[in-house]
Symmetry: C2
Subunit: 424 residues, 2 copies
């Protein structure tokens, strides 16, 4: 019996046309990031299981791919086996936790502040569904070691510039601050340890609306009066009005910083995009400590980038905390939008097929090919088929722009190939 | 207690300077490959365990990283647990097996012949040692669907061109044919099923010499007369002499093809490298069916690329066999040679630091930065430190070429930074 050739559920093969689009996206983004002084790094795909399970990865910890111990370290004969007793490694579920480990591990050779670019695969054992994969690309920039809001400003404007280069222009940057959220929630009378649970429900506002949020909060057992006050507060807080905010004990410093970032980013946007305060913006991860942001495409109604400040993560690996901010582009989401749009990559390299017959001197044929390659053309050398018509159709389908036939040592004319109608 | 920040044993972090070299290597090679008509593809890092364990991966099957089943599929309470009963996935150990699966899975949308480029991570649970990693990059080109030796010629000359672009020039291409080896071995009187065991010992010639090989073969229980005949045959066969070869029943077709490839490649090399027949070249994998090749650096005495024809692998996934040839560059080996050589990447992009003070309009500072970025410079924006001397030293160490200070809205002169002596 033949072995199944399907990819692992939730993963995908990348055929040449998809790969060209993905590489174009990656190079476009890298080019923008590098000009702004960010530098590429990479970490291994596998991390020690202890590092992953002790992280504040929230829901992602339930989605870990765990790797079995090997050799003598593995004893399946024991009683009461647990996953963590027979596994020692796991696949990374994001690039932020590995970056923090990396920073501590390599800090002597890293600049300060350190501006990192990471693109790479991450793995999550999610229920596979449209647009949700078990292996997908993340594409992040982070600034470590900069406590001032120039870090936030550089990350937001650079990410926006990258999105624009990826042909997105109609988008909105939403910004909030975890500290502001906490002040509001506690000033209403909730306990500090209730903040996370409230935020999880609040994060669903987009999907289930104000009524749904109310219902869920009441079912969680929260006092109706407080819930009503909380939801009114959110209405109240749609602006960054000083008087309104003073009611909720939001620190002046938090507000000033938000205002400065909004003002500078808005000016830098040159009207291409907007930035707005959104008190309902939450972000899923537990590790954020300050400003959080998300970019929403107005054309596609979905988030295409997200990030925030996480000043307390590196302190889990070393004595001193190091301020850190990151912004991640939704690579797979953007890829699928561009693909649906039938986006054409700007790529003018001519693709030529050089066909030779058995009477040809193969050395001469290769000389011609190399000459054309040095002129910048893409050249493939193939034996000329007996079924020539079929071969030409095949070349057209493969998007060759032209072909030339060698015959008895003479290179024939370069003949253009006309593209047919797109086949499905 | 702080969590360990070391990478998983046998894996490595890639800091910015290493990443620049690796990216330069990758782009240099991709550029050469693409001009020759090869197209990039990618497959998932994880494959179904069944696919991996049923492959002809030889020793690599003992080095698999296996991934634990998840959720309901995992029952650790059962008796007689085996690795394969509690694992369903594994990390790929090479790029050739996934490519064959990919080819069958996507053949309707792939050109014929199909010229593939793959670069990506592979994983093997080897004993970590100098130069041997548990996660490392492979960089392969393959031609599927071409039975004539134009495939071998294109792969060898293209790989050699890539090595030259990577600044290697003093190397030798060694070539052999599995069919020739088999003819020689069986004509001496060995059984066909003994070929693999003989080859495994023969593959150690470089390390243990002729005496060591003899000893090992005798200890394996082979007849001394036959072993002597075998080793003399190898001496005899150092050339491709027709008369000598006729003694060993080597097929004319096999010899003609070897001669043609050697002749064309030698001519194409323009004297930069040599190609020679080497009857002791074996290659470790079980799946080769025809010509096999390896490139050895004469400066470093080690193999820097290897490959061969494997016409029977795709037939394991689909009805028809499809001819296939591949060539893989030793990416990690080349990286470590270039790094040891202190190879300087040709990269002239100036790196500029723009320092601003609290009295500055951050918008104006960012305008300046963006203008310089559009001119092609790499620009980082930082707040000016109180400890200015320390900051300048820091910038020099980070290989900034120049800096400029903004002060009260005026952009100061661009000041060059002189590189210090390399620090260790």
């Amino acid at each position: 019996m033949k072995i199944s050739t399907a990819t692992v559920k939730g993963t995908f093969d990348i055929v040449p046309s998809d790969m060209r689009l993905r590489e174009w996206m990656k190079n476009t983004v890298l080019n923008i990031y590098k000009k702004s002084g960010f530098e590429q790094i990479e970490t291994p795909s596998i991390e020690n299981l202890e590092l992953l399970t002790k992280s504040e990865g929230g829901e992602n910890l339930n989605l870990l791919f765990k790797i079995l111990k090997r050799g003598e370290k593995l004893d399946l004969g024991k009683e009461n086996l647990s996953e963590d007793s027979i596994c020692d490694l796991g696949l990374r579920y994001d690039l932020t936790l590995p970056l923090s480990r990396f920073y501590t591990n390599n800090r002597e050779v890293l600049p300060n502040p350190f501006k990192a670019i990471q693109t790479g695969w991450v793995w999550r054992a999610e229920k596979p569904q449209k647009g949700r994969f078990r292996q997908f690309t993340q594409c992040d920039i982070d600034i470590m070691g900069e406590k001032s809001e120039i870090a936030e400003i550089e990350l937001i404007t650079t990410t926006a510039k990258a999105l624009k280069a990826l042909t997105f222009d109609n988008f909105t940057v939403k910004i909030n601050d975890r500290r502001l959220l906490k002040s509001v929630i506690t000033s209403i009378g909730f306990e500090e340890q209730e903040v996370e649970s409230l935020c999880i429900t609040l994060d669903k506002m987009d999907k289930i609306g104000r009524d749904g949020v109310t219902k869920e909060l009441l079912s969680k057992g929260y006092n109706e009066e407080k819930v009503t006050a909380f939801l009114s507060a959110l209405e109240d807080l749609k602006g960054l009005d000083k008087e309104v905010l003073s009611k909720y004990n939001v620190e002046e410093e938090v507000l000033d910083s938000l205002r400065r970032v909004i003002e500078v980013v808005q000016k830098q946007s040159k009207g291409v995009y907007n930035i707005e305060f959104d008190v309902t913006l939450i972000r899923g991860m537990g590790y954020y400590t300050g400003q959080i942001f998300e970019i929403v495409s107005n054309d596609f109604g979905s988030s295409i980038a997200g990030g925030g400040r996480y000043d307390k993560m590196i302190g889990r690996f070393q004595k001193e905390d190091v301020p850190a901010v990151g912004f991640s582009i939704g690579f797979e989401r953007i890829f699928s939008i561009l693909k649906e749009r039938n986006f054409e990559i700007p790529d003018a390299t001519a693709k030529l097929a050089l066909l030779f017959t058995s009477s040809d001197d193969i050395n001469a044929v290769l000389e011609w090919a190399n000459g054309l390659r040095e002129e910048g053309k893409i050249v493939s050398v193939f034996p000329k088929n007996k079924k020539f018509g079929k071969q030409i159709n095949n070349l057209i389908r493969q998007r060759f722009d032209a072909y030339a036939i060698c015959n008895e040592g003479v290179l024939g004319e370069v003949t253009k190939l006309e593209a047919e109608e797109e086949e499905k």
